[in-house]
């Protein structure tokens, strides 16, 4: 069935950010949401996550709680280790060993016991990504996932996303055409109808 968004509207004061947005996201699809800054990418993601109320419109096929998100900011518990940050969002008592070996696909093994506050910006970004990918949601929203990553790391991270998504819908907000191509996603340009 996928996700169906119809007539979605949102305004902040007099400023209309989303104007009757219609969107169809098929199951198993990868989508890259592309638009200049300030055109409602993050607002759309926040409405889907239930963090913002919509003025009008409907979203069918998914509800908050079923969506994993990588925010524009890392939003990690700085005093916890990468393994603990990922385990925190996993339901039940997730195996730390399994999470560690999963994280080692995108992070050096020697940083697993360090508090996140001691990691570099790029490493924190990867922990935030791993947290989203390990959450058992039906859909994954990624807001600027490749910020602060060099080319080589970006390729590893994209391979990680593709291997971890398990046929779930991925919707990534990004500025980079190249990133969209590497991810192999269908481009959605906001404001183009």
């Amino acid at each position: 069935m996928g996700v169906e968004i119809d007539g979605l509207c949102k305004a902040f004061g007099g400023h209309r950010v989303l104007r009757s947005l219609d969107l169809r996201l098929a199951d198993d699809g990868i989508y890259c949401l592309m638009a200049p800054s300030g055109t409602g990418k993050t607002t759309l993601l926040r409405i889907m996550l239930g963090l913002e109320t919509k003025d009008a419109g409907t979203i069918r096929g998914i509800k908050p709680g079923e969506i994993a998100a990588m925010f524009q900011e890392n939003r990690l518990c700085e005093q916890l280790t990468p393994v603990e940050n990922v385990a925190l969002v996993c339901p039940g008592r997730a195996s730390r060993a399994a999470i560690r070996s999963n994280l080692e696909l995108i992070l050096p093994a020697d940083c697993m016991e360090q508090p996140v506050s001691e990691l570099s910006g790029g490493m924190k970004r990867r922990v935030a990504l791993a947290r989203a990918m390990n959450y058992p949601g039906k859909m994954i929203l990624l807001d600027e996932p490749f910020t602060g990553l060099d080319k080589e790391t970006k390729q590893r991270v994209i391979a990680y996303i593709l291997s971890m998504r398990n046929r779930r819908i991925v919707l990534a907000a990004t500025h980079g055409e190249e990133d969209a191509a590497l991810l192999g996603g269908k481009k959605i340009i906001l404001g183009e109808g």
């Binding site: 994993a68 939003r75 518990c77 916890l80 925190l88 730390r96 060993a97 959450y135």
Partner: protein, 275 residues
């Protein structure tokens, strides 16, 4: 170059390094204390009046006398327990009320006038009212409770309100359990507030508690001994009991702050299974 490398990895401490600086400070600190003690002793000898002033030598003698008495431990423990119970009750109540006020705006508004009253009413008014209401035996516990409660409540509430909005959004998105939100989002936010307010209120509870004992003279208590020392002009005993109060308050403060420091640890090992 080699020297620079070793400095970087911490094998060599330069003169300005914190480790050397702190050890170099000790002789200076001890020297300053000794000068003050000498000045105190000298003044005592010049004044030469045991009612007006007692020097460190006579103070130590009085202290040894008091500690050697049969009822010393009973008196000290009774005061310690009264003040500790008052503090711990107000700490727990202040924390729980702050948590409730953060969750329910109506409770916050309801408590506001009471907290303002507790902060502004003079301590002596509380003492007189409590003497009428609860009598002298329970006065210390209630006074410590009323003095500390608004400090812990106000600061803990400020700590809860200081919780990171973005982290709370993250918790909502990932449907984190309430205990996880509390331990890993709210706790790091309120602990600095709770620790600093505890440090302040620990001192306040001892000052107000001993004052209440001097006024109420419950039996047995340090305050009663201080009152007796004042009545019989035994200044050496008054000084000795003051030193005992200082020692007890430091012991209690250190123990309590150690407990809070342990509670302020990341507690990451509680998440997930295995190592």
């Amino acid at each position: 170059m080699e020297l620079e490398k070793m400095k970087k990895i911490g094998k060599i401490h330069t003169i300005g390094s914190p480790l050397l600086r702190s050890s170099a400070q000790w002789p200076k600190k001890i020297g300053i204390v000794l000068i003050w003690l000498a000045a105190w002793e000298l003044t005592d000898r010049l004044v030469h009046n045991r009612i007006i002033l007692v020097g460190p030598v006579h103070l130590v003698t009085a202290l040894v006398d008091q500690v050697g008495k049969d009822d010393f431990w009973a008196i000290s423990s009774a005061s310690f327990l009264r003040i500790a119970i008052g503090f711990l009750l107000s700490f727990a109540s202040g924390f729980l009320l702050a948590m409730g006020a953060y969750r329910f705006a109506l409770l916050k508004e309801f408590l506001e006038p009471a907290m303002v009253a507790l902060k502004t009413v003079p301590m002596i008014s509380f003492v007189i009212m409590l003497l009428i209401w609860v009598g002298n035996q329970a006065l210390t516990v209630y006074l410590s409770f009323l003095i500390v409660l608004p400090i812990i409540y106000t600061n803990t509430l400020a700590g809860f309100r200081n919780a990171d909005r973005e982290m709370l959004e993250m918790a909502a998105v990932y449907r984190l359990a309430a205990w996880k939100r509390f331990l890993y989002i709210y706790r790091p936010a309120f602990m600095p507030f709770l620790m600093s307010s505890s440090r302040v209120s620990l001192g306040m509870s001892w000052k107000s508690g001993i004052m209440a004992e001097v006024i109420g003279t419950p039996k047995p208590s340090i305050g009663r001994e201080m009152y007796a020392a004042k009545s019989y002009l035994q200044t050496a005993n008054l000084f000795a009991w003051t030193v005992i109060v200082i020692v007890l308050s430091i012991v209690f403060e250190k123990a309590f702050m150690l407990l809070l420091t342990k509670l302020n640890k990341p507690l990451g090992s509680r998440i997930g299974r295995g190592k």
